[in-house]
């Protein structure tokens, strides 16, 4: 019965996070929680053949709790220990607040700062999103063994570091939200630009967006969560206009703005509004402000560069980095002219010596001042790793060469 499989799959996917989060509180270990959930999902396939329950999520939760209880009873008997907890402890009522806490606990555990970014993403995709090892491997263009290794190592770190499956106190909340957002943002960017291959990219992006929405529901007073959601929504709205038929990236200036997804743009604008109401001026909110200035411009030529430069100025104070300085220099060149942009680039030559986009930006500014962009384009091509970006730079170089040839 194809229908039944679809219902089970759907329920398992959507309910997974909140149920595993609840089990984590009861079981005290990720492995035990995942095992209990897995058992319940298998039981559902059997039991729902007769009759699909009216509330499949609640059914799955009850079944998973029971299977967690059984597992513990078996363990207690096997280890001949007195039960540490009474049965009653297991019957925690599910209120919206406990469910929210459970979910948050799960996300924070998977995105714990003690784990490396790759391990955080692999664990989040596996445990929170319910991706299979194979799916994750495909998304990251690596072997299943690598993914399994990452997940294993992440779980070991959690156990060794006694990371604790606790929802952080209010004081630590912003920091932990920051760590979770960094994971979701990395996940989104992996889907957006990617180190290689287009396969599964949009899935990764959609999942990051879904989790960002969820996080906003869980911590509705954290402006940075809404800032990050806005950036992702703006990015997703443009996703299908960023690559041409040959797989080459289309720069923002040349994208067909009429094809941007209005619903996602609205979602981004509403999220940014929430971030503004909360008085947010953190790195994600500032980047969302910049992205908003871009997506609301009717065309590239009417972009509000003054607003963008001002936001970059603040961003450079809040979270200074050479890449932020590079983007600011590009905006400055648009606002005040290429000479000003080149002046702003001067200090970045050393820190960004290996970054292809530095040379691509300088080539553009040089060309606008009447200079020769070719050496910088050649350096950029030699440094670019993304195949599409490399080919686009090659095309630019080719066009310049053609134009230089005497007619």
């Amino acid at each position: 019965m194809a229908d039944l499989t679809a219902i089970v799959d759907d329920t398992v996917r959507t309910e997974r996070g909140r149920i595993v989060g609840g089990l984590l509180r009861l079981c005290g270990s990720l492995d035990a929680a995942e095992e209990a959930f897995q058992e319940a999902a298998l039981a559902a396939v059997q039991a729902w053949r007769e009759d699909v329950p009216s509330n499949p999520g609640a059914w799955l939760m009850t079944a998973a709790k029971n299977s967690a209880k059984d597992a513990r009873r078996r363990r207690v008997v096997a280890e001949a220990k007195a039960p540490l907890l009474f049965e009653d402890d297991m019957d925690t009522r599910d209120t919206i607040d406990t469910v929210s806490d459970d979910y948050l606990r799960l996300i924070f555990t998977c995105c714990h700062p003690e784990l490396s970014t790759d391990n955080q993403i692999a664990l989040t995709l596996k445990v929170v999103a319910g991706f299979s090892t194979e799916e994750i491997a495909r998304a990251f263009v690596c072997s299943e063994a690598t993914v399994s290794q990452r997940i294993l190592r992440a779980k070991q770190t959690i156990d060794e570091q006694k990371v604790g499956y606790a929802v952080p106190e209010r004081n630590d909340l912003a920091e932990r939200v920051g760590a979770a957002l960094a994971v979701l943002y990395a996940m989104f960017n992996e889907g957006h630009t990617g180190r290689s291959g287009p396969l599964m990219r949009l899935d990764l992006q959609a999942e990051a967006l879904r989790l960002a929405r969820l996080l906003c529901d869980l911590v509705p007073r954290e402006p940075e969560a809404f800032g990050a959601l806005a950036i992702m929504a703006f990015g997703a709205a443009r996703a299908h206009t960023r690559v041409d038929d040959e797989g080459l990236p289309i720069l923002l200036a040349a994208q067909d703005r009429s094809r941007w997804n209005r619903e996602l743009l609205r979602e981004g604008l509403m999220a940014l509004r929430r971030a503004r109401s909360l008085g947010g001026r953190g790195p994600y909110v500032l980047q969302a402000e910049i992205a908003a200035a871009h997506v609301t411009a009717p065309k590239w030529e009417s972009t509000d560069w003054a607003t963008i430069v001002a936001a970059y100025d603040t961003l450079a104070e809040v979270s200074p980095s050479p890449v932020v300085a590079l983007n600011r220099a590009v905006a400055v060149s648009m606002l005040a002219g290429p000479s000003e942009g080149l002046a702003a680039l001067k200090a970045l030559e050393r820190p960004l010596a290996d970054y292809h986009l530095f040379y691509a930006a300088r080539a553009d500014m040089l060309e606008r001042t009447g200079g020769d962009p070719r050496p910088d384009l050649e350096t950029a091509i030699s440094l670019a790793t993304n195949e599409g970006e490399k080919r686009l730079l090659e095309r630019r170089l080719h066009d310049r060469l053609a134009r230089m040839r005497p007619s």
């Binding site: 009216s54 529901d217 941007w260 609205r266 509403m270 929430r274």
Partner: protein, 237 residues
């Protein structure tokens, strides 16, 4: 001071096809409008609803529960947002309402509030926030009032529960006023507006993890026995 509910009935197609720039300007203007009312001490609460195509309408027909999926754009218009305001007279409330930033295709309804409990910072709590519009569909105003009375009677004492975030009951539709934008001008009409299939009798807010949970909860309430409940997620603003 009397309380009024200012509701926008939006042409969702017009909103969806706005340019991103116009979209952003309307969002910001609406926020400024609400801020000004708040500073003047005239705003009790306000909210914007996500598109009605994400919403559900729940009613009970005998033993059967009917759950309808959005969009619910009757006469091309769906509930888009609200401001719960305080004013010294109906005319003042209507004046405030007429200043609300909307598209030329939208309609504004002003209705006096019979009674209500104002949600306190409802957007600060975790979960999704849903606006539930209590709807009645009857031919006459007397019958409509009777339906609302019955719902009121049977839901008394049911609240508050953990998920409840406050809400209000409106005076009958004949006490309402409708503002229509025509180019630069705004024209006003007095109620009742029973020509609409479903007339709103109240609005309240609940906090749930998903719209499916909200529908399951609604299925057990008197709202869906005597009338219908339109459940719509609110944007956090």
């Amino acid at each position: 001071m009397t309380e009024y509910l200012v509701m926008t009935r939006e042409d969702e197609h017009a909103h969806a096809s706005q340019s991103p720039k116009a979209m952003s300007e309307l969002i910001e203007k609406s926020a400024t409008y609400a801020d000004e009312l708040r500073r003047a001490g005239q705003l009790k609460d306000s909210g914007r609803l996500r598109p009605s195509k994400e919403g559900k309408r729940v009613r009970r027909e005998g033993d059967r529960l009917e759950v309808g999926d959005g969009p619910f754009a009757e006469e091309g218009k769906a509930l888009g947002g609200y401001c719960w305001v305080q004013a010294s007279s109906f005319d003042e409330a209507a004046e405030l309402a007429a200043k609300a930033p909307v598209l030329a295709t939208d309609v504004i309804d002003v209705r006096p509030v019979m009674k209500g409990m104002c949600p306190k910072d409802k957007e600060a709590k975790p979960g999704k926030i849903f606006a539930c519009a209590v709807l009645g569909s009857t031919k006459t105003e007397e019958a409509w009032v009777e339906v609302m009375d019955r719902i009121d009677e049977e839901t008394r004492g049911r609240f508050p529960e953990a998920s409840f975030l406050g809400g209000l009951r409106l005076e009958p539709p004949s006490s309402g006023r409708r503002i229509v934008t025509r180019g630069e001008r705004r024209a006003m009409f007095d109620g009742p507006f029973l020509e609409s299939k479903e007339v709103i009798g109240g609005l309240f807010f609940v906090r749930m993890t998903s719209i499916e949970d909200a529908v399951r909860w609604a299925a057990e309430t008197p709202f869906v026995v005597h009338g219908a409940l339109e459940i719509r997620e609110l944007w956090r603003t």
